[in-house]
Amino acid sequence: MSAPVQVTPEAPMLEAAGVSIQFGGLKALTDFNLTIRQGDLQGLIGPNGAGKSTAFNALTGVYRPTRGDVRVAGQRVNGWMPHRINHLGLARTFQNIRLFRALSVLDNVKVACRAETLSHQEHWLPASLFIAALRGVGGVGGEKGARGGQRLGEQLIEQAGALVLQGWWRSLFLTPGFQAEEQRITERADALLEVMGLSHRRNEEARNLPYGEQRRLEIARALGTQPKVLLLDEPAAGMNTREKADLMVLIRKLRDQFSLGVLVIEHDMKLVMGICERITVLDHGEMIARGAPDEVRNDRKVIEAYLGDSYLESHGGAA
């Protein structure tokens, strides 16, 4: 298990260095660089198919980078399973909303709140000693990538350790500690629903929520994992002007309240230009510009990418 790395506010929480993703012959992302620190509010834009979501997937572990490194909280996470990357403090929402549709709004958030519980157990001394002892018996040493490479014996040991020690027995015996913890999780989830203005929907099934509220629930759920960096994939898609305005205020508020670094993918230029301090522009998988909103807005390459060469020719250059 990964030891939490002490990070100063200046240290990058999320860092991509030269990340490339290739599907067969298709280069979906080339040499992508990005650094996000606590308190950052950055944007990632580009025309459709520019590789924005691919970049998100590379950062969160859904895709494994073909080249380059992704670091979260100082740890190199190439090839890690997404859940382990999430445990380091990286959470995301999805472009096409992926809620747990049949679960209640509250349970959606509680699923995510579980991570806190888990980390407690991981640092529970007897548990780690037991797993270490089993490892010793099995003669398996060293940390390997969770994807693929693990040997059967190691898997067996981890699973056995998890089954016995990661609190399954506590839920079976309803220990007082377990009951208190469930209480805490519920309270924390309720607090997040309050922040996102969803308390009145608490017990409804997630699939019955209107679109805008589903988007907000996705954010609440992501916050449940107690992230240090939050990745929002088109959070305003399908919202009306009013909802978008509210969302802009909300994103800023969340950043400050939860001391987050935030990276937003968005098509709505007004929203991105309005809240992001720094914007990265992708086109055909390559970064073509980066900078403050005004710099990006006037960048020739960006205008070209969005409007095509012909626009520039007929209008005689930028701005």
Partner: protein, 356 residues
Amino acid sequence: MTTARSATTVPEAGAVVPAGLKGLLPVLLALPVLGLLEWLLRASPFATYLLSVMGVNIILAVSLNIVNGMTGQFSIGHAGFMAVGAYLAGFVSLMLKGVAISFLPEALSDQVFFLLALLVGGLSAALCGFLVGLPSLRLRGDYLAIVTLGFGEIIRVVVQNTDAFGRALGLSGIPQTSGVGMVYFGVFLVVLVARRIAGSSHGRSLWAIREDEVAAEAMGVDTTGYKVRSFVISSFFAGIAGGLFAHFVPIINPGSFTFVKSMEIVVMVVLGGLGSTTGAILAAIFLTLLPEGLRSLFTSLGAEGSLAQKVDQIRMPVYGLLLVALMLSRPQGLFGTKEIWDVLPKWWARRKKGTS
């Protein structure tokens, strides 16, 4: 607009009970009840047998529901794990036949060994569950169906090639130490475990996997790990069910644990509603009693004996058609993912409104 089930609806002792006792209270309450039940039924072997079969089916259905319903994976080889439990528990009991603990009364000593055998059966089944689940649960859901089915076949072949398991003849002479009390203690345990998992962060993680695996993984749920663990727990109880079964039927052979048995359990779970523990229980009771009922009906009607015998034959294609009909008309089964106490009050209210 429907109100979703809240995870905290495990109906158990209220606030009067101290928190420390809450976990064990149901067990303390159940034991004397089961003892009484056993004592009441001591003189009626048929009722004992029927109730035992029903209990074993309930254990199988509820445990399969943990994988198929709560986690949303689809295993169709539950009888294989049942076989592992039955054979190993039976084997242990045969080995220990004639051994007794000197300072205990004979009946009690028997029960101690029976428990030991059950535990061996359950744990071996759990180990098999792990070995089968690990490669297949990393892949997409439908592979699991095939692999579990194949696993059942492998078990059959292994048993038929092993002298210690009596090859095709099976094991006979296993001490008949099981009783209604023990079977329903198993039922009680599996239901308790299923409901308590449902009321914990583990249960929510399983549901999350059922709803959307990618999202669950992104929210920090170790999806592979949870799938394997739910599979292991489910297999453990299938093994227990097998162990119990082996101790009240005169003989166990590979024929008792075929694909047909697996399908029977799948039908129970699907009929009750994938994800509903109470649904699985009701469906298990219904599908155990239905063939029995039809058989006695035909016999009492004086129909020629063949018709009563045909019940068993007809049962299987009917299960198949039942599955198809269910999927086409009511894919969520009886209760969907909800429990009876979520569904009945609403149904009752609607009914009242309809009549007034």
